[in-house]
């Protein structure tokens, strides 16, 4: 079992590197958040039976090996049989690579959209002098912990999540849905990424 845990941009290079080393019965599990089309390309590269498309649902730094996962593709069952006894809750979605990634991205449209909404409204509230009030209001709806994770996680992982939302937007276009929220979320994350890349102001 080989786990690729990188980024969509590195997924192909990792699969190409791993492919020659995969023995009979070995499975390459791609845990990167990527578009379904890329997952299908990776499956074609290493062979359907030897590939598992895995989508992690939740924060890995917070939950580690216990992060819930969706798996699809010819190697999904092998992945589940290997990782479930070790503590990872794995739901097999289908035998088709890309299906797990699609589910995650559909979820991300909501979760990252929620995060973008929280960030933009809080930014505005800060300017209006209403930050504490709005934080309390939002926390009353979604909980303080989730609000904190949405805001902090968006800033910390802005670049990766921007890529994720662009992949989500591509998926929605494929499905015939106008990805207004997905693109807006990507734009908010792009701003956060740019802000974090800016050098600190001189004092």
């Amino acid at each position: 079992m080989v786990l690729s845990i990188n980024s969509a941009a590195a997924a192909r290079a990792a699969a190409e590197a791993a492919h020659p080393a995969l023995g009979p019965g070995s499975v390459l599990a791609d845990l990167n958040t990527a578009a379904p089309a890329l997952k299908r390309e990776l499956a074609a590269l290493v062979g359907d039976a030897a590939f598992a498309d895995v989508a992690l649902l939740g924060s890995v730094p917070a939950r580690g090996l216990h992060t819930p996962a969706l798996a699809s593709g010819g190697g999904a069952r092998s992945f589940a049989e290997a990782l479930t006894p070790l503590g990872m809750p794995v739901e097999i979605v289908s035998e088709h690579a890309g299906d797990a990634a699609a589910r995650k991205l559909l979820r991300s449209v909501f979760m990252k959209g929620l995060a973008a909404s929280a960030i933009e409204s809080l930014d505005a509230a800060a300017v209006a002098g209403q930050l504490e009030w709005l934080e309390s209001e939002i926390a009353g709806v979604i909980g303080e912990d989730l609000l904190q994770r949405l805001v902090d996680g968006s800033r910390r992982h802005a670049v990766r999540r921007m890529d994720e939302m662009e992949a989500a937007a591509e998926l929605l276009v494929e499905l015939g849905v106008d990805p207004k929220v997905a693109r807006a979320s990507a734009a908010v994350l792009a701003r956060l990424a740019a802000e974090s890349a800016e050098p600190a102001a001189l004092e």
Binding site: M1, V2, N6, S7, A9, A10, A17, A21, P61, G87
Partner: protein, 109 residues
């Protein structure tokens, strides 16, 4: 038989999962990427340097694309994979569970 799982990519998520796998009794073979220095390389972390370990020779020259786990312990920013190479004769095994995001123990074989 003790399961063997290779982990390609030991950034924030990969290192955590590798550590948990090791703690669960799995023989983990972790492969670090060769970090890039551009914007996709983790926000401009330190430039790559040759990995320590046995001198490269012959087929083991492929290790130029592999970064030992111990080198990552000093890194504070996530680094994206630029390229990773698996060489069956060269493994980097996590020898003990490690807390948080730090990987503290690694050996070359």
């Amino acid at each position: 038989m003790k399961p063997i799982i290779a982990v390609l990519g030991l950034g924030e998520a990969g290192s955590r999962i590798a550590s948990d796998l090791a703690a669960a009794g799995v023989e983990v073979r972790g492969y670090d990427p060769a970090p890039s220095t551009g914007p996709a390389g983790g926000g401009g972390g330190p430039p790559p340097r040759p990995p320590p370990g046995p001198p490269a020779a012959g087929p083991r020259e492929r290790r130029s694309a592999i970064w030992p786990v111990e080198d990552w312990a000093s890194r504070t920013r996530p680094v994206r994979m630029a390229r990773a190479t698996i060489a069956s004769s060269l493994t980097c095994a996590l020898m003990s569970p490690t807390p948080g995001r730090q990987l503290q123990a690694a050996t070359w074989s």
